[in-house]
Amino acid sequence: MSRQIQQSIECIFKNNQKWVSSKKEEDPAFFEKLAAGQTPDYLYIGCSDSRVPANEIMGLEAGEVFVHRNIANLVPNIDLNVMSVVNYAVRHLGVKHIIVCGHYNCGGVKAALTPDDMGLLNPWLRNIRDVYRLHENELDKITDDNQRYNRLVELNVIESCRNVIKTAAVQQCYRDHQYPIVHGFVFDLRDGLLRDLHIDFENMLEDVMKIYHLSSHSAHSETSGGA
């Protein structure tokens, strides 16, 4: 094992100790409270990209945001992974807000615009090409490559929001409690700032439910099963 690799993992445990000490200085009962359980108000669905850490960019502490991160913050309709996360966060934790957060300069979105065979990544990234196809007219009109790519990042967030809203969990919980509200954000790596895409949640919900309505009967929700 090389010395450099060994040192970088040892450094993590030192950093962890420092973080524990600083949290205890701010609030001696910080970890005791967390040990009692989690009651996050947010579900964050974001990109795995190392430059976009959920808690840091939103200024939230441990315990405040439930997090799912995958390549290019996708919410594919048949992905059991993200559907389980949405189900758990909405039905069992009762989160008030669901935030889908993309970021400019996203490698996944860039790869999806590149005519390369990415092997195992192809089927995952194909979802982004589908977003392009859904918004082909708008995107084709943008002549600047970078601007078109950044707009696809935004549209990809919006489509992920739409896929979240398609779930029975979100529709039924919103009907009964008027939450969660779904938001779309984009993080800008150049200045560290979050931008709200101001998705009109209620209109989007109504629009989605024309076809994806899953909340008129309650049978399945008795087992809190549907996603």
């Binding site: 190392s50 441990a62 790596l189």
Partner: protein
């Protein structure tokens, strides 16, 4: 974007009862739907029943929750804090954001739980750009899952991370659910690998107290996820060719401390693994 642009829209701050009144004219959403479902059943996941229930009041009783007032709403606060964080981080590390805008070279791939208490970059004391992250329910890795599969492929092959960390934690709701026997709908297929581990270790787990058994299953689950990671050819190749390391950790939510598990394999086990899983182009 201006401060006004980032300011929260007033409707997010509305009390649930006001929101209900406002959209009562939309039968599609509300009027035709009798409210009969207790939407949140926490018990199957509960690692600490009383505190879990704080968020689970019926809508009429939620006026004291954090969406009720602009002074306590964490969503609005979060957007404000982002500005503070961006400014402070830029002060402390002036080169960071300009560098990040050009690309990422993380050394660590983190495969952890979605649990809000397990904030990886914070607990590791690291910065943006340091940790590539996949978090899901109970840090489970299904061999055929495209989501985690794509993350591992991208991180190992394209970003060439030096470490893969699988991190489980104490008081895990997914583990608690798999130790119980309640039907949970779509979560059931997701939690299946945890139940498989439970089955294989039933005798050991049954000898322990409920708390100890949950901690044991969390640890066994980390080992199982590491198994799945090291069954992938891309990982085996990187271990052989460039010394990629895999680690198993348990995060103690009650103390904030990370504990490393001994996950070293015998020479025999490593040999068998390579025979069974190593593939050639």
């Amino acid at each position: 974007m201006s401060a006004a642009g980032l300011a929260i829209r007033s409707r997010f701050l509305a009390r649930p009862s006001e929101a209900a009144h406002r959209i009562a004219g939309q039968p599609l959403l509300l009027a035709s739907c009798p409210v009969v479902i207790p939407a949140h059943r926490v018990s199957p996941f509960s690692t600490s029943a009383p505190s879990y229930c704080a968020n689970h009041k019926p809508s009429g009783a939620t006026q004291t929750n954090s969406t009720a007032s602009s002074t306590t709403d964490k969503y609005a606060a979060g957007l404000r804090k982002n500005k503070d964080w961006a400014a402070q981080t830029a002060r402390e590390h002036p080169e960071l954001f300009p560098t990040l805008a050009t690309g990422q070279q993380p050394q660590i791939l983190w495969l952890g739980c979605s649990d809000s208490r397990c904030a990886e970059t914070s607990m590791l004391g690291l910065l943006p750009g340091d940790v590539f992250v996949h978090r899901n329910i109970a840090n489970i890795l299904h061999p055929g899952d495209l989501s985690s599969g794509a993350v591992i492929e991208y991180a190992v092959k394209h970003l060439r991370v030096k470490h893969i960390v699988v991190c489980g934690h104490t008081s895990c709701g997914g583990v608690a659910a798999a130790m119980g026997n309640k039907q949970l709908g779509i979560l059931d297929p997701w939690l299946l690998p945890l139940r498989q581990v439970r089955e294989r270790n039933l005798a050991v787990l049954q000898k322990l107290s409920p708390v100890e058994a949950a901690e044991k299953l969390a640890e066994l689950n980390v080992r199982e996820s590491l198994n799945v990671v090291t069954q992938k050819d891309v990982v085996l190749s990187a271990i052989q060719e460039r010394g990629l390391q895999v680690h198993g950790l348990i995060y103690e939510v009650g103390s904030g401390v990370l504990r490393e598990l001994d996950t070293s394999d015998s020479d025999e086990a490593i040999k068998a693994r390579l025979v069974a899983f190593k593939t050639d182009a």
